[in-house]
Symmetry: D2
Subunit: 346 residues, 4 copies
Amino acid sequence: MTSKYRAAVAGATGYAGGELLRLLLSHPNIEIGAVTAAKSAGTLIGEHHPHLVPLADRLVEPTDVEHLAGHDIVFLALPHGASAEIAAQLGPDVLVVDCAADHRLVDPAQWRQYYHSEHAGTWPYGLPELPGQREILAGTKRVAVPGCNPTASTLALLPAVAAGLISADDIVVVLATAPSGAGKKLAVTYLASEIMGSASPYQVGGIHRHTPEMEQNLVACGATDPHVSFTPVLVPMTRGILATCTAKLSDPSITADEVYAAYQKAYASEPFVHLLPQGVWPQTQATLGANTCHLQATVDPNTGRLVAISALDNLAKGTAGAAIQCTNLALGLDETTGLSTIGVAP
Amino acid sequence: MTSKYRAAVAGATGYAGGELLRLLLSHPNIEIGAVTAAKSAGTLIGEHHPHLVPLADRLVEPTDVEHLAGHDIVFLALPHGASAEIAAQLGPDVLVVDCAADHRLVDPAQWRQYYHSEHAGTWPYGLPELPGQREILAGTKRVAVPGCNPTASTLALLPAVAAGLISADDIVVVLATAPSGAGKKLAVTYLASEIMGSASPYQVGGIHRHTPEMEQNLVACGATDPHVSFTPVLVPMTRGILATCTAKLSDPSITADEVYAAYQKAYASEPFVHLLPQGVWPQTQATLGANTCHLQATVDPNTGRLVAISALDNLAKGTAGAAIQCTNLALGLDETTGLSTIGVAP
Amino acid sequence: MTSKYRAAVAGATGYAGGELLRLLLSHPNIEIGAVTAAKSAGTLIGEHHPHLVPLADRLVEPTDVEHLAGHDIVFLALPHGASAEIAAQLGPDVLVVDCAADHRLVDPAQWRQYYHSEHAGTWPYGLPELPGQREILAGTKRVAVPGCNPTASTLALLPAVAAGLISADDIVVVLATAPSGAGKKLAVTYLASEIMGSASPYQVGGIHRHTPEMEQNLVACGATDPHVSFTPVLVPMTRGILATCTAKLSDPSITADEVYAAYQKAYASEPFVHLLPQGVWPQTQATLGANTCHLQATVDPNTGRLVAISALDNLAKGTAGAAIQCTNLALGLDETTGLSTIGVAP
Amino acid sequence: MTSKYRAAVAGATGYAGGELLRLLLSHPNIEIGAVTAAKSAGTLIGEHHPHLVPLADRLVEPTDVEHLAGHDIVFLALPHGASAEIAAQLGPDVLVVDCAADHRLVDPAQWRQYYHSEHAGTWPYGLPELPGQREILAGTKRVAVPGCNPTASTLALLPAVAAGLISADDIVVVLATAPSGAGKKLAVTYLASEIMGSASPYQVGGIHRHTPEMEQNLVACGATDPHVSFTPVLVPMTRGILATCTAKLSDPSITADEVYAAYQKAYASEPFVHLLPQGVWPQTQATLGANTCHLQATVDPNTGRLVAISALDNLAKGTAGAAIQCTNLALGLDETTGLSTIGVAP
């Protein structure tokens, strides 16, 4: 007897959709129902994701309510702007897990400022590691999966903010990231010949849309009026985010040992945050394919700054893994069901 | 009649040595004399640098005074600690251009703190773009070529410091860099399988030896008691540095246009600093093989920080190109002789 | 009640050892016992394999009989030359699975010719897809895991040889491969700066040690006196083999459809060989981390040659995955236990 | 007084166009006139080629006869199908150098078979290393620049064919190549996330359009009715081709030394073909940015095959470098003017 939940994946032909399918294939309590896309409807999954051998012959259906209806769970891996309408039509009893930005921000003014459109409302935010967030996600029917960059920077800074070790008004986040975060967008910028052999920043000067989301998360960690200077840098790797986060210590006498102890305490029981042994720094390769964030933090006495660095797989813990982690919480399953902490390296 | 200067290259089999040879092959006023190495003496250049076709059959001789003597110029591309002794034996009339760190720092205490050995004295510092530095380098017989990371961060910050746009006491530099900066060092860290697909920080927390050199340069730009939080991140590319530098604006009302104007003014006549059109950010690929630093700067109004980003080729403008640029100045040649601003891309 | 088999992994700090551990962590019937190494004894697994979070604190013990004894299974991921002696000391009742070359070849003369040492004897060869090989592996206590290159080329050619579609006396195999196949060997050749941005052949002209193993396998497929011209080419990727195999058709009138039909028939029930839809060619990325070989074949009418191309992960189906596949057969478990056909991409 | 030739570059915003501009910037006898493109007319070169600093502010004009007229030389870096019409309008006195395929093939039937359109006629073929080809190119007003893959394979096989060492009826060419060969074509296949970490073949089974061009070149080397089985494999590097070519020896007793001697003799005075020391194999990295083809050849006694491997930069000697080499010949300049044999590595 099978009592599996049935999940549809909208936007199944993109990278986030493919990662959702990859992880769902290993999930013991969820079976894959409809897989849908816009332009690619009528093709087979094998044409888009040759790595998903068990789904090679699955037909891609159109992304519409007709094909998404009748599932227990609907994962949305669509461009932002599409989820509110779909969710409304699916009804309140379907678990809708949205990987796009539409329902992450609490403040409609911030949404308008950064996304230049009307705000579609706020859904429970899918970062279970935030204080009190698991209670909010338990049993929810709507999840706004965090952006990959905010997840990386929030997990790097949370213990320091929560323990009052830093002042949050002058945080600097510089983040190396992989082009798969942009999906299969066809632009010269993302061609292999442009990316290989190059490091290139983008959305510099406080204009990246993940900035208000980072700040909102820091408030959830206990910060008052946080300000983040965020610079993302594209580097030549298929997956991965390495977030270097620095912030002024609230007291220059705080030591590296105190910092480390705070991180140990904060993450002692987190299944998907891996604090490395003191002195060992994370690398993205170790997180490939895993729902894990690797972390380290210390003090730079020369500048009186905390330096905290996190590594994660932008498609896994950064997107699809987080989506499934939250799905587990929403369904009342063990949070770790179907998720691995083991990366594929080298 | 040939009136070329004759140059020896010590450490010719490493990456910095190879880049010196590559550039010297195109220099109209310098001919390559002895090429030397320690362990590889007796081999041919072609075994180490198959890209240097015209030197394929050149014999690598031992690195000792006997083989380095009798040249007008001696380039040292050796591990730090070796140059002082060699320079003393070559005599005061030979132009010695040292790519290692030995003679960069002015303060012996800083040397001891970061390098754990006795200071060998200070030589004229080979960053001609620093205020007044060309005069110091003109006619000199000793040049301390800057570290690649200090060159990138100094050029990114110089105009802002010189124009008083930022306070220098809380500068954050996060820098993506290529493994060729470590030379041909045999360590698991530098194996292709470890580097490809990964971003990994190292020497985190203010302990990297380039930190005091960066701060010393900022003093030369006009800063008082600068403090830099410096974090280097290895990324998978053969060459290149992308330095993301942020600092508090000295006055929060300073605008992006004012910043850009200051950079334009500062670098208007610099042959090897290329300020990009406003809004365009540098990428390392565009500098590959060229003696050029590409730059952009703006204001992040959300944090009241300047964000300045530079890109350069760590082996070219970061090391060997700078060495030749300074050699030109030392010899009284046109500073740009034999050097190109044109990168090889994609 | 746990009735798991207990496995030791010798050579656990290398890439093949790491992949064995990664796969064993997901195996429901095997638990990891001793993990051993030579020089790294006394360190922790987390220092070598930060991706294996659940094993981060496991102590690496010395590779000797004392530490390997007392297990049901011993995986050897050691340089060739070490396994025979260890196996003898472990006794006949322990399942010994050797990832090195020592016991692959049947012909001692070939061993001596290619490996320049005495032959240690032949063990059951761990390529279950060979005709009759599953019967040989069932219940065995010794397994010689195939070389990654012979696995790729044999699977690409097997159906054509078995069906008599090609003459085996003039086979050409040119194979793109990843540097992880060389393990953590410290040599300039394997430095990131040498590998990135380059394609470089090695062991050219019929001298690669995998050549006789390929030919031996083709005999097992039904060929008489096969001859393979084998050229491996290192390319910049962490994992993966793409084997382009061509051979003269035994009859120039053989069509692409006939070839495809033969491949379909040969691999219809193979769990770990994935014949792609006709006209679609394999790519290594799709096999990353999976125990799968992707395949396609066609006819080049211009030359009367079959062209068959296979892709696999050199560390997974090419080494550690094959080791576990054979272990399953040797233990009487379902052959697919603990192994996945799903790659991690992009 | 300047007596430079003036050159226009059509298709200047693509990769081949960019490489033409890069090389022309160093050419002492040619100055850059109009730079044109189709969709990008009205933009600046700096937007497309940030590495070409001296041309950053050059306006891109439309690709039409009005803008191309009035130059001594017109380089065409356009998709095939465009050059004949333009050339006709430019008149017979303008040197037109076409980097596309339109005028390479001699046999109209082959053109129709592979390109599915009408043949536009044959121009002098721009591979000066072919026997007698320099005479044909001297003073010509039309040049058909070879395809990058035919250049690599022809140079690898020429001495063996010319000396009668191989039979040309069963040649196998497997070639690792960089995605820049496809230009800035926007397709998922060429996205960084697809290319990095992967080796993927394309146009398999004798259908690649460079196949008849390879065979035509072998005829020019002296072969009768050559047949080439050609398989290109995309690998993750920005530039480079590594062509592994094998062919049956005409006599199995031919030795590796005889082969090497034939290659030495054939290329003794070729400025842009670099035969490596016996036993050393080429790698693409060593040719980056240079107009050089690196070569090695040997015998595989096990199969009675010659194995010859060439490496070159697909954009340099593979396209733009060859274009300028032929331009030099057509103009009566020294063939090596403005071209370098020195690569940029690592």
